[in-house]
Symmetry: C2
Subunit: 385 residues, 2 copies
Amino acid sequence: MKKVYLDTNATTKPYPEVVEEMLPFFKEAYGNASSIYGFGRTAKKGLETARERVRKLIGAEFADEIVFTSGGTESDNCAIKQILRTSTNKGKHIITTCVEHKAVLNTCRYLEESGVRVTYLNVDEYGRINLEELEKSIAADTVLISVMSANNETGTLMPIEEVGIIAKKNNILFHTDAVQLIGKMPFDVKKSGADLVSISAHKINGPKGVGALFVKRGTPLTPYFHGGYQERGLRAGTENVPGIVGFGKACEMTASRLDENREKIGALKKLLYEGIKRSIKDIKLNGDPEKCLPNTLNVSFAYIEGEAIVLNLDAEGIAVSTGSACTSGSSDPSYVLKNMKVGPLFIQGAIRFSLGVFTSREDIDCVIEKLPRIIEKLRNISPVN
Amino acid sequence: MKKVYLDTNATTKPYPEVVEEMLPFFKEAYGNASSIYGFGRTAKKGLETARERVRKLIGAEFADEIVFTSGGTESDNCAIKQILRTSTNKGKHIITTCVEHKAVLNTCRYLEESGVRVTYLNVDEYGRINLEELEKSIAADTVLISVMSANNETGTLMPIEEVGIIAKKNNILFHTDAVQLIGKMPFDVKKSGADLVSISAHKINGPKGVGALFVKRGTPLTPYFHGGYQERGLRAGTENVPGIVGFGKACEMTASRLDENREKIGALKKLLYEGIKRSIKDIKLNGDPEKCLPNTLNVSFAYIEGEAIVLNLDAEGIAVSTGSACTSGSSDPSYVLKNMKVGPLFIQGAIRFSLGVFTSREDIDCVIEKLPRIIEKLRNISPVN
């Protein structure tokens, strides 16, 4: 059976070149990057090449602003918790949004237990924050603003450059979880105005278990992992050299094909949406139709459950999701859509199609061919139809 | 030039079978383990096979007592910080040792800044703690004892079963950093009496960037990473499926060859030590000559600097270290040896030879052949000789 993978916002298939680049670091260059002898120096060189490639992808000024982590969740935890810890004299207030990834939201909830105040900004029907509400939320003790670059469920872009300007004007540090935007659209860390940026390798056709935190020079970040002096003391633990090398290669390849892939993927998404609209009635597009990631299409199908659609598509070899993989297992409707005030008719039947660099025209045709019959079948047996 | 790698306590070469087992999870089974469709279920199955293999290696009763992490440092940070956080009502006192790995020591130092009291147990000339001192250190508010299973620099074994008994008797949780012992000697988590055990994959011929924390059922551990519901809510973040799969394979292979490798490696270490003793005078064995890891030989060479020996051996293709890779970059003498009261004649010239499953008789012969001339050369130019 033909396999169609349309869940790249959950994870992506590594580029074959990424795997190739990693292999020597498993097989021969297996040294500890902190060791001073030859094996160690080769590993260290691999790390620094990767660091430079990450730097280039996000337009950072200095390679030492890139700290390697085990992924986006660690980067988010580190940025938010450590800034709050170092800022105890200055204040204990964070501003974030109600549609952040769980790695940000649950970190904030955890901090609330220890007395940190958190403002969760509302979003409009497209899932975007209001900048006036942001400005009004700023208090004397606000130490951090954390706003995602693009939403993982809907693809809606947040106005992060404007957030960066507001943060700077008010002398507040700005963190953005850019895990979903980086690699899909141009991202310039300098333009973003962010002091801290979370990045993940496995969302850009790199390996799982690796990520980075951009830390602008001068940002008062303390280590989240204590131990050895790796990453200039900012992140202890033997470096995951093969993973980091693969991450670097993924960054390099992503950067070199960004415009081309963006255009190709955007056209396929348009095709998919038009195909769905043409053949299925009572649907709703979730997220901003314009200011949106080029690869993400979130559509609700009235009267039915998203999970049933996912399982039926899976039986046809097509992988999509109802929302974030990090919230699967829960049968609650998406908090992102809830906060966008998606009504009862549509909130249960949301499907996120997320396309990637390996998505083909045939993949889209396959979905357009099979989806209408599945929706029809499910609607026929639905008690609410 | 022949390459001789005798620094397996820093990191190891992955078994070729480990890399083979990982590859399909990079190439085809790249799904997110939290996803409910086919790609996700295959990944999830890989995770659970690995979890079962880790469980078996350490003799844990339940697979759900294994929580995957990014490595030993994360496991140590998680165990110590989270137990102290959940125990705030009960107390704020930790007992550990002065020769722990930096991942434990620096975590404890960090906690001291926020009011936690830490007792650092002394060690004897072999680097072993005194159990009476441990018992005397216990206070009404002691919530955690953290004692490593074996020292990474000297290989000295700690009396962890006795520590476990004392901890249990006093109703105190017991954590052991077993990163260096597991895979080199039999380790039975039930016999150890430990509630929390840190494990690393890359020390047992698995990949870097992966590890585990054994968490005995009923241990009140809270998550260190907040976010998605991975690892039953104990460790958020998309699972590093290929890494975890490789870790599992390494555990399986390690378990099946443990006795054989232990014997072989122990014999090679004996050969190495005898060769050194025979041809080089003014040396000192650091660590316990008997109760020691079978693979670790720490020897001091009087009158010279360890780092000079490392670099001269490196020029001959031989990789060894002066101590922990996690403390390299610092020119201070080893705090482990300092705490063992190794005197000024010997403390600067310590070399750790750590053998592994790929170490051959030829490797040892090569060191025995080349080392004496290097030591002689360095001693001839030494200002303190």
